[in-house]
Amino acid sequence: MYSTELVVQTFISGIMIGVLYALMALGITFIYSIMRMINWAMGEFYMIGSYLQYMLVAWLLGPDLWWLAIVVSTAGVFVLGLLTQWSLLKPIFKKPPEARDDYATVVTLALLLMLRSLATGIAGPNQFTPGSNLPIVMVGPMPLAGARVAAFVFALVALAAFWAVLRYTWYGLALRAASQSRVGVQTAGIDVLRVDRVAFGIGVALAGLAGALLAPVFLVFPTNGLITTVKGFEIVVIGGLGSIPGALIAGVLLGLIESFGAAFVDSAYQNIYGFALVLLVLVLKPTGLFGERGREA
């Protein structure tokens, strides 16, 4: 039958890709938990992260400094997120909350189309790949692509940093408080629009980080954010919208299911296994694994 090695390798690659999917889902869920809106242009921030990574590695820093390029790309997307909130979203959020998320949907969908067209216009429909000279890494008897291992390790570090900021800093406390009650933080004396700005910046930076990390694996082209965004939303549905542990656990779960499905059933249907899981979760627990039905105002 199947060798143990194949099972172990499938398991490892599932977890590795799952953590990267989780970055994307975490970004979506984090922005939602604070701003109560879905950022539909998430994949475009992923795309921008991957282009930044390509340009930095190909033109400026070279493949040896890939890690620095990742940090700079992520920071670049973070700044872009701050600017997006300030210019496009803040004006909506200044108004009373009626239909706010509807406006936000329209604005972020328009942003999606604009950024995608911009990328096509500037870089053309070509595929790029940032060179990677990372060696193959042996885990036991298993060879793993260096770029994938590096992406996995980087993602873990980023997740740990994200968690530490939320848990141990004053700003993390403000972010967590804002996710519980927007009126509450304003009454306490916190400028909720500034919290939004930081939250949006961090959320899209997580997508940009995923884009930069996956650039050598999934390549760089104008619509490369699409698949990862779909996976991000699958994870958010599985884990429960607004739940951070849900995003992490569901991300790894999705990675594992895809990986095992591809290895042991049929790799042609890799993108379908996740949907099967989504349907299953929706039947059994419509709020997602960690979702809450309602929240206190």
Binding site: W170, L173, A174, R176, A177, S179, Q180, S181, V183, G184, V185, Q186, T187, A188, G189, I190, D191, V192, R295, E296, A297
Partner: protein, 242 residues
């Protein structure tokens, strides 16, 4: 000395309803003033107008003599006008201690370490010690009201607007909240505007009350004075107060 809080000619209309109609009211420095009136009289609307939740259609709000009209809610809070909500607005997923710390750092972000010490003090004062590391959403209604009070007192404010702090709360916790208000008033000289239907508490706490009816200020004076006014008795549907 300027009044701690002044509302001057406030008006607010919601559709056909004139919820605040030329409301003028002032709370002196160090005063604990009661705000009473039948349901729908516009008390909460007034609270929302002075704390920046609603923009008034006309009129002005002054905090310690300075106009705060047009400021956002968080800016008003930072200037020392602290409010509590009838339906508590706590951070349900955060612990009691984290709720207190949020209130502390929100108004004093460049602080040294005394947030922790102040949180300890407030946990003692609110008698919530055993629940300090419990999530706020697991607290009872009375405990939430206590915590909300504690959050308001984490950084001394100059004026507190409390919307129904005693509604639906058991007598023991009522007493604790009452003591906290009196202590903050005595110790910090903080002014209070207390909205309540609990006449016994209002009588104990507030030398002066303002009565609102149908969006207007109907009377001011001691509770016993206003309770005798025919208009006030009629406004409470013919019931004498209490």
């Amino acid at each position: 000395m300027a009044a701690a809080l002044e509302a001057i000619g406030l008006r607010k209309r919601f559709g056909a309803l004139q919820a605040a109609n030329d409301v003028t009211l002032s709370v002196d420095a160090g005063e604990i003033r009661g705000l009473i009136g039948p349901n729908g009289a516009g008390k909460t609307t007034l609270v929302n107008l002075v704390t920046g939740v609603y923009r008034p259609d006309a009129g002005e709000v002054k905090l310690a003599g300075q106009s705060i009209g047009g400021l956002a809610m968080h800016e008003i809070a930072r200037r020392g006008l602290v409010r509590s909500f009838q339906v508590t607005r706590l951070f349900g997923g955060l612990t009691v201690r984290e709720n207190l710390l949020t209130a502390f750092y929100a108004r004093r972000p460049s602080a040294n370490d005394d947030g922790e010490a102040q949180a300890e003090r407030m946990i003692r004062l609110t008698t919530l010690g055993p629940l300090a590391d419990t999530q706020a959403k697991k607290l009872s209604g009375g405990q939430r009201a206590l915590l909300q009070m504690g959050c308001g007192f984490m950084v001394p404010g100059s004026c507190y607007v409390l919307d129904e702090p005693f509604a639906g709360i058991n007598p023991v916790i009522k007493e604790v909240i009452l003591d906290m208000i009196v202590e903050m008033n005595r110790e910090q000289g903080a002014a209070f505007l207390v909205v309540s239907h609990e006449m016994a508490i209002i009588r104990k706490l507030c030398p002066q009350v303002t009565v609102m009816m149908e969006g207007r200020v109907a009377a001011q004076g001691t509770l016993d004075e206003v309770a005798r006014l025919p208009a006030v008795v009629a406004g409470y549907l013919g019931k004498a107060l209490e």
